[in-house]
């Protein structure tokens, strides 16, 4: 833009040279002041921002880790009913006919020897836990 933009149609007059000299001084002073104020602040903000991002990253990792642990726990946890059904209907774990037939008298005696039955405990268990009526009717 080399053309002089000031022409006769311009209704606004140019302020004095003193005004522009003063304007330059004020402007350059302000820029210098702003720079002095901004310099330490910029460093501080960057440092804060670094810790801020690190904090966010750590929080995300923590939340993910907790979710993974919770998920693996929930996968391993069986309810009592599930466990009972599993043992009852899974032929590998249940007492198959073959398994029972393979037991002979010797095995039973060996088993009885190994299991020490406390008579008092057995009586207590039967009296408190078993529905005797059910067996008597049957």
């Amino acid at each position: 833009m080399q053309k002089d933009p000031f022409n006769n149609n311009q209704p606004f007059k140019m302020p004095s040279q003193e005004y522009f000299d003063d304007f330059s001084k004020r402007l350059l002073n302000k820029i210098e002041q702003d720079q002095n104020v901004q310099k330490p602040t910029i460093v501080k903000l960057k440092t804060k921002r670094k810790y801020y991002y690190m904090g966010i990253a750590a929080s995300i990792l923590l939340v993910l880790a907790l979710q993974i642990i919770q998920l693996s726990n929930s996968k391993n946890a069986f309810s009592n009913d599930e466990l009972q059904d599993y043992i009852q209907y899974d032929t590998h774990l249940g007492l198959s006919t073959e398994f029972i037939n393979s037991f002979d008298q010797e095995d039973i005696l060996e088993l009885e020897k190994n299991i020490r039955i406390n008579n008092q405990e057995l009586n207590d268990y039967v009296l408190t836990n078993l529905d005797l009526e059910y067996y008597l009717i049957d």
């Binding site: 053309k3 933009p5 209704p11």
Partner: protein, 181 residues
């Protein structure tokens, strides 16, 4: 002149010479930018504020200036945007429209020592103020500042054809306004 601009731009983008080169830039362009801003915001004190903000923005963003347009056009664009933003903020603060805020400022021009006051000049300002924002800008840059269409196109990033059409419409509307008042 272009070589001088290139040298000045290099100095502005070099941290070691930036401050001195910027003082030179202010010296070169403060008067032209003053009149450009003044024709938009109308009031001298407001112009002083906007001119300062414009130069601060230029100082802050000169490092990212890639030279895709002329330095002067880029500075004019910043000044134009700053002026329009200033008027919008002022109108919003006073809870009135841009046009209404300008009407108030035009009334005050009678006491303005830097305004060539006459009934005709005030009437012309009122006629311009009645135009849509874009037409106001085009008219002010063409009529008051005698800027060529190519420079206006670079600053406003609008085609020369569209600017000519806009100026034509603005002149017609102003003629109607002056006939009616």
């Amino acid at each position: 002149m272009n070589d001088n601009h290139d040298t000045l731009l290099k100095q502005l983008q070099d941290p070691l010479t930036k401050h001195t080169a910027f003082a030179q830039l202010v010296e070169l362009y403060q008067k032209r930018l003053y009149l450009h801003i003044r024709t938009i915001v109308l009031n001298h004190d407001d112009t002083d504020d906007v001119l300062q903000e414009t130069f601060i923005k230029i100082y802050q963003n000169i490092d990212s200036f890639k030279g895709e347009s002329q330095l002067f056009s880029w500075m004019y664009r910043i000044a134009t945007n700053q002026s329009l933003d200033f008027l919008k903020a002022k109108a919003k603060k006073n809870k009135i429209s841009n046009q209404e805020i300008n009407e108030i400022i035009i009334q005050d021009l009678q006491q303005d020592e830097y305004f060539d006051y006459s009934n005709a000049s005030i009437l012309l300002q009122k006629a311009v103020n009645a135009l849509p924002e874009k037409q106001q800008l085009v008219f002010k840059m063409k009529y008051f500042q005698d800027m060529d269409y190519q420079s206006m196109s670079d600053i406003l990033q609008t085609s020369v054809g569209a600017l000519k059409a806009s100026y034509h419409h603005a002149v017609k509307k102003i003629e109607h306004f002056l006939k009616d008042h």
